[in-house]
């Protein structure tokens, strides 16, 4: 139910009746006199007769039988009631509507005398489904509004944090917010060795907001490249991984090692838990330093697998808070985070993992074939090649790559050869190839859980960004379809090295 208008619309030039039809839903009748319809129905909604098309304008008649021209498609045609005898004539009307840009064809119901109630029921059913559809749209809008409001809150908080740091005249950009100094002991247990495969966890004694780096202290370690320290920072109130590190032991040193966050945490304050595990080593686990005995059970170092205390100590640690974007001085063994999945609410753009790109394959094998792979994963370029045929389209398929909380899928469209002709690119989110095909063919608009970027023409050297917004989140994983075709169809597809590059997903929250 979208409002379709065109440059032809000019209220001054139109009759009053036509303008009326642009403001409310209507029913159209074909081959049925107005008087044949129950009075109750005609009182409930405006019902107009479709008489035909003349000079590109639809001829309609009102309840008195008076005819008038309609140049614009009505705002919302709920249904068309047709005399079964006149069946087939509705094509003229539907064609006219389509020529006016109406994508959702109105449903056509046959009108049988004596079965008016059944027909009214069908209309009501249609209305009810529209109401539900609208409700879903509104809730989706609310969700987006909430995301925007959260984003705004976070920006406010982040900005306020920056302001507060800016105001700290004469102070360092970093504060040591908490320090639990290592306590040496000859009988010190090796918590990493004692812990299960999941490693150890330690609740941090400061709130998340403002945390920039966490330092851990190694009393002893073997500096090996084939062994890595995996660290994660998790918020316990919502179990989000806000930052993670994968660091070869060769980059760690004895003493303090600073796990730097990609950006200072902001937003609502949460309780942080640091999880550490070693991968690739079974013996000679690094010896993490511990602080003194910890009387508070909650803060004793724990086994990450079962959350039980391993010792009566906390880890030795320092927690640094600071201004976003500021690094610790060079003397520190500063280890930046690898993860990009910092989560602080609002919309987040996540690049599609290369492992997922490699799952891409050709979907419409029944239509096209090449001597080479028409769909070619190019993980090193973070891209997928999608070679268009000279006629028709090439459709690629990335299975189950679209999670339920997706808002948008985006990709850059490039042609990696200057001699290529222009190529059209499109992205679709759909459950199967049949549905995807309908969307690529623009036979209908996307439904719930679907998205379509529309076709974008690209010339060599251009790199436009395609965006397919999901119509409504449906709570299931969807497939992603990519497609290319020659702009001139059929056309010369030599050198048409079309690629979807830097595919990313925008998620909410």
């Amino acid at each position: 139910m979208t409002v379709q208008t065109s440059y032809k619309l000019s209220p001054v030039a139109k009759s009053l009746r036509e303008i009326d039809l642009l403001k409310e839903p209507i029913l159209l009748r074909m081959g049925i006199d107005h008087d044949e319809l129950p009075e109750g129905l005609s009182k409930a909604i405006k019902i107009l007769g479709f008489e035909g098309v003349k000079d590109d304008a639809a001829m309609l008649s009102d309840s008195s039988g008076r005819k008038f021209e309609m140049h614009e498609a009505p705002l919302c045609t709920l249904a068309v009631l047709i005399n079964p005898v006149h069946r087939g004539r509705e094509k003229r009307l539907l064609d006219w509507l389509k020529s006016r840009g109406v994508v959702d064809e109105p449903t056509v119901f046959e009108w049988h005398a004596g079965r008016e109630i059944e027909t009214a029921g069908l209309i009501i059913q249609k209305l009810a489904s529209l109401v539900v559809f609208e409700a879903r749209k509104i809730t989706q809008s609310n969700r987006e509004l909430l995301a925007l409001r959260t984003l705004n809150d976070n920006l406010q908080n982040r900005f306020a944090a920056v302001e507060s740091f800016v105001d700290r005249q004469g102070l360092q950009p970093f504060d040591l917010a908490f320090s639990n100094e290592p306590v040496s002991s000859s009988s010190r247990s090796n918590v990493l060795a004692d812990a299960s495969f999941e490693g150890v966890s330690q609740i941090l004694p400061v709130a998340s907001a403002g945390v920039s780096a966490i330092a851990i202290h190694f009393e002893r370690l073997m500096q090996r490249d084939d062994t890595t320290l995996h660290a994660q920072l998790v918020t316990l109130e919502d179990m989000c991984v806000v930052e993670s590190w994968v660091v070869p032991l060769s980059k760690l040193g004895q003493g303090w090692n600073y796990l730097g966050l990609s950006r200072t945490l902001a937003g609502l304050r949460r309780t942080l838990s640091l999880r550490l595990r070693i991968e690739g080593m079974d013996d000679e686990m690094p010896l993490l330093s511990l602080g003194g005995l910890q009387p508070l059970d909650m803060f004793q170092v724990r086994d990450a697998a079962n959350d039980t205390p391993l010792l009566k100590n906390s880890l030795a640690m320092q927690i640094w808070c600071g201004m976003p974007g500021v690094l610790l001085p060079s003397w520190a063994n500063y280890l930046p985070a690898q993860s990009q999945d910092t989560r602080d609410g609002g919309f987040r753009e996540m690049p599609m993992a290369t492992g997922i790109l490699e799952l891409a394959d050709l979907s419409n094998t029944d239509e096209i074939s090449f001597d080479f792979a028409a769909i070619l994963p190019l993980p090193e370029e973070r891209a997928i090649g999608c070679h268009p045929p000279s006629s028709g389209i090439t459709i690629g398929h990335i299975p189950a790559a679209c999670p339920p909380n997706i808002l948008r899928i985006s990709s850059s469209a490039v042609i990696d050869n200057e001699e290529s002709k222009d190529v059209d690119f499109a992205l679709v989110i759909a459950s199967d190839i049949r549905t995807a095909r309908q969307l690529f063919d623009e036979q209908r608009t996307p439904g719930a859980g679907e998205g379509f970027s529309g076709w974008i023409s690209v010339a060599p050297g251009e790199e436009p960004r395609l965006n397919a917004f999901i119509t409504e989140q449906v709570g299931v994983w969807q497939n992603i379809y990519i497609a290319t075709r020659m702009k001139d169809n059929p056309g010369d597809n030599a050198f048409a090295w079309a690629k979807f590059r830097n595919i990313s997903l925008m998620v909410n929250g």
Binding site: L236, L296, D341
Partner: protein
């Protein structure tokens, strides 16, 4: 990202089977109830946070539109309900938050048969996506927990409050509503009928909700990582509620009176934050209790050390008992046996807060139980080995932090560096109980200190580890919340026994051998026999003169042991100085704490405590006053406790009198008849019928003698008519009458210019014997005597008459007070009606002479007296009182055989024949004696009652 996608995939895969379940959607396990009123836009945010829940079970969001006037609320609610199968929109007429939540509860119970819990989410708040999953798991992990409440993480006006501490009902009632409405509530609670009070529209309805749950035995728990987000703006309903907080709290306190009762709060303190830690000596075990006689928690010394340092690090989250005690279990048991352990802890707590350390020492004394408190100094050094030590957590904490322990180590010295007070407890301790232990309490104290100082936890940094702000009070100081709630300081640490007997406190100014005390002890014994648990409270001198027959009557003996004036005050009523509750000298908090935890108090002429009885009654205790005698000033003005009774009449539920005469006087002075209850006196001590019969038989079989044995038993003072007695004795001796005298009693030092009565009697050849108190000596005296004389100027209903009569000893008494109710003149005793001293002395002499000459009359009187005295029993006398208690406290007293005659007390008094003037029936002769009733308090009362116009009759 991979991690996240993996996580999402896992969630989806776990959801898939149910998604394709052909039987329909998975059952709803949790319903989130969202009352909506004027939060139209934010409502969507709350609903969205429910829809975003990541849980392997179905969660329904139920929006209850409480008649919101904003159409947008309905639009949003309907929209979400249309769009999502698990969102429900209910609309109802406006009834307030409670009504909306209840509406949602009923809807959820009706429509979700598999419901396990509901969560209350206000329309302007939010929860994180993992909240419901995690808190439901947390709740199900502990079967004892029925609701889970969050820390408070506010956004908007940002604030994060630490609510993480073991759930405490004591804290919840006395501090604040520590459980946000945004809590998960088990179905069990809802099935038990816990609902929001719909009459509460101004706020704190959630507080009331939790109190209902507590009242039904449910418990909550905090989940530290809840994920609850509370929207705080500058103005809110909560802020409005806080403006009317006191009014709402008054309603809540009234509604949940039982929960707010001192005994309930005490029981919770004992369970949740015990007030005392008794640290074992050599056992490495620590007992944690408020009442040591009730089952309580224990822990190892190591655990105690950990808790100690945890409490130092995060005091609002972790706590240890605020008072520490070093004493062996055997010594604690000895104090329990004597009924003194609660009193000792109460005194120790009181003193420890003003001084560094309290030393405790026992002294063996079979004649009395008592407390002596002294400050240790060069003049009064510590005895060899204390039996125990007490101090506060604060002092011990300072010692643990101190760089050196020299200061504490000086406790070994006779005069330690710390300020030390010694409590000396006297009592009939056994030899074994008096034995010291292998490890002295001083060493145990220092060993505990050493364990704390050497602990690795001590090295822990002083940084705060919990990042949320402190809101709760120090967990080691909940005893202060209790004090504040019951208006007491400190609160007697005595819990109700598990069988919950009726606890009756007898308040006395002193614990001597006076008639008032004896009546109180006898009534206490009778109430105990009726199933009550009776306790003795002495507000004056901290000494309870022991009467072996009374051992075991009182469950506990309690000494106020404070500088507490027993009479007087800055206010005046009918010529009597008196205290009122607001007077500083009333020591309101002290007295409230001293008497905390009782169901009934019976004031036995402890004058100043009247000022606090109103407050006790307001807190649910039944208050009785026992009135014995209308005293007289030197000038002859009526004075004493009956007048105080008139002053405080409003606070008494019942006024007990020992005579009909006193009841009539009070009624005549304006006390409603319904408040008055006459308890007929009976003998103060028990005597078996066999022993009684033996004495009576001996009397009957006594050879005919020509001399009369005359006894006086009592204080040698003006009230007892000592001048009258002296005159009569002198006359009879001058006439060489055949009389043998036995005068037993003690001199009163300020008896006037005449000097010692003892000496004056000696001058006329009569030896005055010292007072006797034991039943054996009393029986011996009454058995010896033919007659007992009481020429008193005023009396109540003297026990001496009844006890003498019981053994066939004929009473000759002035007809004052209720004496006439005890003697039928000429039948079972003889009355002297005159008020003139000379006439009375003359009549007394004549009556004694007449009896000495008429053995037959004496025998007839003796037998009638024995019959009368033997018929009076306390069990019968207190029956109206027991019935009254039963009516106040149904089911708290066992059912005893019911007497067929309700007014048995009155009917046991033999029918009085017409009075016969003494002169007509008996010749004049002989002299009486009177039994000593050491009543130290009565002269005090008389003195104060009369102010400057009254003579001070006290020593």
């Amino acid at each position: 990202m991979l991690d996240q996608i993996k996580r999402l995939r896992e969630q989806i895969s776990t959801q898939l089977p149910s998604d394709i379940d052909p039987d329909g959607p998975p059952p709803t396990r949790v319903a989130v109830l969202i009352p909506a009123y004027k939060h139209s836009v934010l409502l969507a945010e709350a609903v969205e946070s429910v829809l975003a829940q990541e849980a392997p079970f179905d969660i329904a969001a139920v929006i209850i539109d409480d008649g919101c006037p904003y159409p947008e609320t309905g639009e949003i609610g309907r929209t979400y309900a249309l769009a999502h199968s698990n969102v429900f929109y209910l609309r109802k007429a406006n009834g307030g938050l409670s009504s909306a939540r209840n509406y949602g509860i009923e809807f959820a119970l009706r429509n979700f048969p598999d419901l396990e819990a509901v969560y209350f989410l206000d329309a302007d708040n939010r929860i994180t996506p993992t909240a419901i999953r995690d808190i439901l798991n947390f709740m199900k992990s502990d079967d004892k927990v029925d609701w889970i409440y969050p820390n408070i993480d506010k956004f908007g006006i940002e604030w994060n409050g630490n609510y993480t501490t073991q759930y405490s009902r004591l804290l919840h009632l006395t501090f604040d509503n520590i459980c946000e409405a945004g809590s998960l509530v088990s179905r069990r609670m809802l099935d038990a009928g816990v609902r929001f009070d719909e009459s509460m529209k101004a706020g704190f309805e959630d507080w009331d909700f939790w109190l209902q749950a507590i009242g039904r035995g449910f418990l909550g728990a905090n989940y530290p990582f809840f994920g609850f987000e509370y929207r705080q703006r500058a103005e809110s309903m909560l802020r409005d509620s806080n403006r009317t907080r006191e009014g709402i709290l008054t309603y809540i306190r009234q509604k949940h009176k039982k929960l707010f009762a001192a005994e309930t709060l005490l029981a919770w303190e004992h369970e949740e934050t015990p007030r005392y830690a008794a640290i074992g000596m050599g056992t490495y075990a620590v007992d944690l209790f408020t009442d040591p006689t009730v089952e309580h928690a224990k822990c190892s010394l190591e655990d105690f050390v950990t808790r100690f340092w945890a409490a130092k690090a995060e005091p609002e989250t972790f706590g240890v008992p605020p008072f520490l005690l070093w004493m062996t279990a055997a010594h604690r048991e000895a104090l329990t046996r004597l009924g003194l352990i609660h009193n000792l802890l109460w005194l120790g707590e009181r003193i420890a807060q003003k001084h560094h350390f309290v030393a405790i020492r026992f002294e063996r004394n079979n004649a009395k139980v008592g407390i002596d408190i002294c400050k240790i100094s060069d003049a009064e050094p510590l005895a060899d080995k204390p039996f125990g030590w007490m101090c506060t957590f604060d002092i011990f904490s300072t010692c643990a932090d101190d760089a050196s322990d020299d200061w504490a180590r000086s406790l070994h010295k006779p005069v330690p560096s710390p300020n030390v007070i010694e409590i000396v407890i006297s009592g009939p301790f056994t030899s074994r109980e008096m034995q010291s232990t292998a490890l002295s309490p001083t060493n145990a104290l220092l060993a505990t200190l050493g364990a704390l100082r050497d602990s690795g936890y001590r090295l822990q940094s002083r940084n705060r580890w919990l990042w949320r702000s402190v809101y709760f009070p120090n967990r080691s100081r909940y005893f202060e919340l209790l004090r504040h709630a019951v208006g007491a300081r400190p609160v007697m640490p005595r819990l109700a026994h598990a069988s919950n007997p009726l606890r009756v406190g007898f308040l006395l100014p002193i614990g001597s051998f006076g008639g008032v005390e004896k009546v109180a002890y006898a009534v206490a014994q009778a109430l105990k026999n009726a199933g009550c648990e009776v306790h003795l409270f002495l507000l004056g001198k901290p000494v309870y003169n022991r009467i072996p027959e009374n051992d075991g009557v009182f469950k506990t003996v309690n000494f106020l042991a404070d500088d507490y004036p027993l009479w007087g005050g800055p206010n005046q009523f009918a010529g009597h100085d008196l205290l009122m509750g607001h007077d500083e000298a009333a020591k309101a908090e002290l007295i409230m704490g001293f008497l905390a935890g009782l169901d009934v108090v019976i004031n036995n002429q402890a004058a100043p405590v009247n000022s606090m009885l109103g407050e006790l009654r307001r807190r649910g205790m039944k208050v009785l006053n026992y009135v014995h005698v209308l005293d007289k000033s030197k000038m002859g003005r009526d004075a004493g406790h009956p007048y105080l009774t008139l002053a405080f009449e409003h606070v008494y539920d019942t006024i007990l009198t020992c005579s009909r005469d006193m009841a009539e006087w009070l009624h005549g002075m304006g006390v409603p008849d319904a408040k008055l209850m006459h308890i007929q006196n009976a003998a103060s001590y028990a005597l078996s019928s066999k022993d009684q019969e033996a004495i009576l038989a001996a009397r009957r079989n006594r050879p005919q003698r020509d001399r009369l044995n005359v006894l006086f038993l009592g204080r040698l003072d003006a009230q007892k008519g000592i001048e009258r007695l002296f005159a009569s004795v002198r006359d009879l001796r001058q006439h060489s009458a055949p009389i043998d005298w036995k005068i037993i009693g003690s001199d009163v030092m300020d008896a006037g210019a005449g000097g010692s009565w003892k000496e004056r009697f000696a001058e006329i050849g009569v030896h005055v014997e010292p007072p006797v108190f034991s039943s054996r000596h009393l029986n011996k005296a009454f058995a010896w005597a033919d007659v007992v004389v009481l020429p008193s100027r005023w009396e109540g209903a003297p026990l001496t008459i009844i006890e003498a009569q019981r053994l066939g000893c004929v009473p000759i008494a002035t007809s004052v007070g209720a004496v006439g109710e005890l003697i039928d003149h000429g039948i079972d005793g003889l009355l002297i009606e005159s008020t003139d001293d000379n006439v009375i002395s003359r009549e007394l002499t004549e009556i004694i002479m007449a009896l000495s000459e008429d053995p037959a009359a004496l025998r007839r009187l003796s037998e009638a007296a024995a019959e009368r005295g033997g018929s009076l029993m306390w069990e019968h006398s207190v029956e109206p009182l027991v019935n009254q208690l039963k009516s106040w406290f149904p089911d708290r007293l066992p059912t005893l055989p019911v007497e067929t005659t309700l007014k048995l007390v009155e009917q046991t008094v033999p029918t009085t024949p017409e009075r016969i003037p003494s002169f007509e029936r008996f010749p004049r002769e002989a002299a009486p004696k009177q039994r000593d009733e050491i009543s130290e308090i009565r002269p005090l009362q008389i003195a104060a009652a009369g102010s400057a116009h009254m003579h001070n009759l006290r020593n």
